[in-house]
Subunit: 731 residues, 2 copies
């Protein structure tokens, strides 16, 4: 075994086994001379197993294990098995070991034991048994002798979980920022199949006074599911149509799938074939996989030339005014291959001749038809060096490199501008240039909790801007679940309502009047909170500190809390997660909290609740959240869409018993000027003293904010309210 | 429409539509002359729809809806759709509308609105939309003009939920009582396939000192899955074997499936065919359905002659010492029919000729192969009157009448003796002569909550003795989940550990030493509590009041509590339901509670906790439960199996601030003598006064108990402990 070690960054050691495949997950250059040969890895026992390496790590009774990004199950990963192998599995039941992404970044420890972390940079399957077989052992199996492990730890001091995440982000790069309109509400459906239904949806939002910034176009906008086409009958003169909607504040977000339909005369197919940009079967022919369009070829995104080609193909949409895409099916998803179908036919023939063959075999075979693991061993990529590798060896990179291709398309065509980009499949590194949504969840109350847990886990993995389909993608939703999920959506960075073909409609007007009113008011609350959320999000990106965090990252908690989360540093979200509930249990750690129940964005019931365990009442019509003691939240009047008008008046709601401060942030919301410091801030401070509040506001930054006035609502320990306003000097 | 009404019982009105099929659900004779014609039903709006009737009931904001027995979802049924049509669905995800049983009994109301209930006696599909489409409307659709509705309500006074349940049980009969050994621990596995594995399992229990009363025999004990056979190779000399095990305190419980393998020379098949006791296809031939044995005929349990025959077939087992069965697959489950397989073959042929047929069609067809609704329209029963009805018309009775046949077999062959009988499928009325287990759950934390909710719902429907597979039937279980579920099992009337083929083993010794120790101690706690549980269970049966109840039945609760339950009237169970949790939230209603954490049956940590909301600590090694203020729990030293030795010393743990009383009950545990009053009781009273406790014990009943001494542990408001003993006079 060839193992070597290099110290990189303050708390990061790189252990290199053999010659790893270069994944681009890491942005820190490693100096070859920094390596020294070693035999062991800190704190891990190593064993060889089945051509790979198994690492075992002892867990103390108090150790929590976090990380792994997009996985189903508890936030504390202890007690379950996980398999990091990207897959399109539409049924997220609790036992599932893998989903669409692979984020092999783990944090472990507790206040009693020195926390540590590790990131295994390896682009194929990694299996983790985290205290499942044996509660006190974490076992990590990597079926290879060529991979990198970055180990995060400190000697002589205790690292916090927050510091480990920061170290991981120093290593892998700063998170992606969507355009500011990405913080608006987004409406999707499989499908708004034509211009008429999109236009009707858009105008209904405006008519009803429900803010909305984006409408998604699912697979039916294409001509026969052919990628990069638009059905001209359903969407005549798309460019004019897109422009018209944009004038009204709606961005259109078309879906892009990887599979290119095999069809003579179809340009994308013809060009990809001519230039040899598709994945190959063992015999060198182009591999065939069936997806929505029927049989397709899969673009070989491992090949940089394919990526450039694909990025260029996006141009036709960009030219028509599109500023965002969502990339689907890129695990890649394969419904079946011609060979697999052939096997089914053969079995049926055999069965006809022999009634003793159990019919179960046919069912089993059919059940394994979608995304059979064997497919991924049957096709090959060209790597930058020209070598051929099977998809199996680099499986988890496919969606990420497809996303990189599209991101590069944007960057090339809209230099200096932010773009909106969601992908379903992901690997570490992707968080630098795109976001993910969490795939095909269900209209189950349990999946609201899954949404919350994934927000926290994905934020640890650097995917700050993310979210699950509000209301659940699959199956029908009750008005109550839709409302409660919308209330969670207020605190989900990506706030997208999406649903599957054939399910109950999810637009607010699809429900009864009472439910409709609540949903409209909930979405308006989201918009009112954007001045807070955007400020905190951008600070999180600058400081490489998760925007969404478990309470345990900020506070000493008496017990694990997985159904509440910090949304920036002033707000704790605690949505109601049970049917028919008129409230919920909460743990309020360390300090007092201002409990806010928003009936509307400008009509809240508030009360101060001391630290401890409580059952808080929250009727269906109210969105619950907490403002932390000594902190400030900034709001504005909701707009119909982000950028509709300049925000000139801020509302600052504060809960102050001593001193509170907040940095209000704004920028153009559309460019990456923020990376060069092109933004402005208002530093707001409130000091409580002798029943009085001293307020100071300090403007900073090159771009002057348009804020003219801040209206303060300051609550003290007994929820007594002080209202006052401050004019800001003209600048 | 022909609708008439009769008052029966105090609070029950029967509304009869047309000429209902006689289901035997109800035990109250209805006098024909009591009917009067009417046009409406109390509080319901009626509409005709698709050949049937739709009833709508308005719900007030505060109304809770309970009932429906075995269904997935919340205890409060509001916000979901349900379909009462018995089916073998092995994946109990939250959206599922129907499971194995049909219990069309609903309770609704709140403290603010007068509670009412109804039972729709109709043996085929009933669809309920309970505030799903519209939160304030319950809609019940019955696709028939011939059915009975029993409506439970009072005028001039408020009925309680408990009174409505009692009324329902007066109408449908008193619950089944298993033999006392049914309160012991039961070990199952798919499969202990031979005598050796059963014997090893049994002796391991004794060797490890883990109490156990029963071992189940899953399908592999049969010769080629032929019902009423025993594989003579795997189980030579079964009678001797069963006798040997019984001597050691183990009952063997074989599985019985309905499908009779079509095989010449197989006696059961030959006889059924000869006597015409199988269900018929439309053309009068015997209907063919594939289940475990391959193609089978389904016994026509609607025909009384079939039931007598089937009951008689059980005799061969009874003669060999068997005292219990579990009846599976009796929804009935159908893997496929020859015609359905033929369609698959045809589609494949078509696909070969036409590559444009989407492969999805084949997958869809295969997905619908199991338990396709169409099958149940394709076979027919002979009714007692000799008429022919399709299974569809009486679908939900199939499993119940199979169970009745076996129960009658027991009653005929072992008159006066209790028998042990579980069934998977059920309809109202079955609760008089058998119990159910809740089918193929999964090793998901979420299914512990489903277990708790079903315990409560099934108890409302009269199935007092019931339970779910501990640890979950499907998929692998972690040691932590297994332990927490065992701790719930302590308070599950049926305490059975069962698991599917291919999953991780579930016997206590299949886990690490620490987990093993906890499981053994947990099972011993269960046995120690039998003197309490059996007393309370038998009282519940006598008084027709649920043994397991939601808190809302006993107390004024500030909010819905679905994860705690009353286990008899002294104990409230509150198991830990989350991974990695070291405690949980609880609501303690109305009074103070003595919080008990049992490390072992004789080693508890106790503390008095006042009413309110709390987070209680409970490490993995401890079973949590609460003793209600002013109540008493009786225990004994655990035995290896129920009846191993006479209990002579009781331990009474009491939490007394004023006055507490408890009726200790015992009987022979094996006969129906209890129905004629052949049992004995000890009425135990404790009065607290001025720091002293006055204890009185009064023996009653014809059969004298063998109790010689009661050791008291009496806790007061400050958890101060008073220990004392009372000798009982010899009798």
């Amino acid at each position: 075994m060839m193992l070597k070690k290099a110290q990189i960054l303050n708390f990061t050691k790189l252990y290199r086994f053999g010659q790893p495949f270069k994944t681009a997950a890491v942005v820190c250059p490693v100096d070859g001379s920094a390596f020294e040969p070693v035999n062991t890895i800190d704190g891990m026992a190593m064993a060889f197993r089945e051509g790979g390496i198994a690492l075992t790590i002892s867990l103390s009774p108090s150790d929590r294990v976090f990380g792994l990004g997009e996985t189903i199950g508890a936030l504390n990963k202890r007690g379950k098995k996980y398999r990091l192998y990207t897959t399109d599995d539409p049924v997220h039941t609790p036992g599932k070991e893998n989903l669409y992404g692979s984020h092999p970044f783990v944090l472990a420890g507790s206040a009693l034991t020195n926390p540590f972390g590790f990131f295994i940079d390896y682009p194929s399957e990694i299996c983790l048994d985290i205290g499942f077989t044996n509660h006190n052992v974490m076992e990590v199996a990597i079926p290879s002798m060529n991979f990198d492990i970055y180990f995060f730890s400190a000697t002589g001091r205790t690292l916090t979980f927050m510091e480990i995440v920061k170290e991981f982000l120093l290593l892998t790069g700063a998170p992606y920022c969507p355009p500011k309109w990405g913080f608006g509400y987004q409406q999707s459906r499989w499908s708004y199949p034509d211009a008429k239904s999109v236009a009707e949806t858009a105008s209904r939002f405006r008519k009803e006074g429900i803010p909305c910034d984006a409408i998604y176009m699912d697979i039916d906008y294409m001509d026969n599911f052919k990628v990069f086409t638009i059905d001209e009958v359903k969407f005549p003169d798309f460019q004019t149509f897109a422009g018209m909607l944009k004038k009204d504040g709606f961005r259109l977000i078309p879906i892009i799938d990887p599979g290119v339909k095999i069809e003579d005369g179809y340009g994308v197919y013809e060009e990809g074939r001519r230039r040899g940009l598709f994945c190959e079967a063992k015999d060198g022919s182009f591999f065939k996989a069936a997806v929505w369009p029927g049989l397709t070829h899969l673009p070989d995104f491992l090949n940089p030339e394919t990526r450039r080609w694909w990025g260029g193909l996006c141009t036709r949409f960009l030219d028509m005014g599109i500023e965002g895409f969502w990339l689907d099916m890129n695990e890649p998803s394969i419904f079946y291959t011609p060979a697999a179908i052939h096997e089914v036919f053969n079995l049926v023939d055999e069965m006809k001749g022999n009634p003793d063959i159990p019919k179960r075999r046919l069912q089993d075979m059919l059940n394994k038809l979608s995304n059979n693991r064997a497919y991924f061993r049957e096709f090959y990529h060209r790597t930058p060096s020209g070598g051929r590798v099977s998809n199996e060896e680099v499986h988890n990179l496919y969606g990420t490199l497809m996303t990189e291709a599209v991101a590069d398309g944007f960057i090339t065509n809209m230099p200096g501008r932010r773009y909106f980009l969601l992908t379903r499949s992901s690997y570490v590194g992707l968080h630098r240039y795109a976001a993910i949504w969490t795939g095909d969840n269900m209209s189950w109350w349990e999946h609201m909790l899954a949404h919350i847990r994934m927000l926290m886990s994905l934020n640890m993995a650097g995917v700050f801007y993310t979210g699950a389909d509000i209301g659940g993608f699959g199956s029908d939703v009750s008005p109550e679940l839709m409302i409660r999920w919308m209330q969670l959506g207020v605190f989900s960075p990506l706030f997208r309502n999406h649903s599957a073909f054939g399910t109950r409609r999810r637009e607010p007007w699809a429900f009864d009047g009472q439910a409709f009113d609540i949903m409209r008011d909930t979405i308006k609350l989201r918009y009112a909170l954007i001045p807070y959320a955007y400020s905190e999000f951008m600070r999180s990106v600058r400081e490489l500190s998760p925007f969404i965090r478990p309470l345990m990252f900020d506070f000493d908690c008496r017990f694990d809390v997985e159904d509440q989360f910090m949304y920036g540093s002033s707000i704790m979200a605690a949505p109601v997660l049970l049917p028919n509930a008129t409230g919920r249990y909460v743990l309020l750690p360390t300090v007092s909290w201002l409990y806010c129940r928003a009936l509307r964005h400008d009509k809240w019931a508030v009360s101060v609740i001391p630290q401890g365990v409580h059952y808080i009442d929250c009727p269906l019509c109210m969105t619950p959240f907490f403002i932390k003691e000594n902190s400030i939240v900034t709001l504005s009047e909701p707009v119909n869409y982000v950028g509709e008008r300049e925000i000139e008046v801020l509302r600052a709601v504060a809960f102050v018993t001593e001193t509170a401060s907040f940095t209000y942030y704004d920028d153009d919301g559309l460019t990456d000027g923020y990376k060069k410091g092109v933004y402005s801030t208002l530093q707001i401070n409130i000091v409580s003293s002798g029943g009085q509040y001293a307020i100071t506001i300090m403007a900073e930054g090159p771009r002057t904010t348009k804020i003219k006035r801040i209206d303060f609502e300051i609550y003290g320990r007994n929820a007594g309210l002080c209202r006052c306003s401050r004019q800001l000097p003209n600048q």
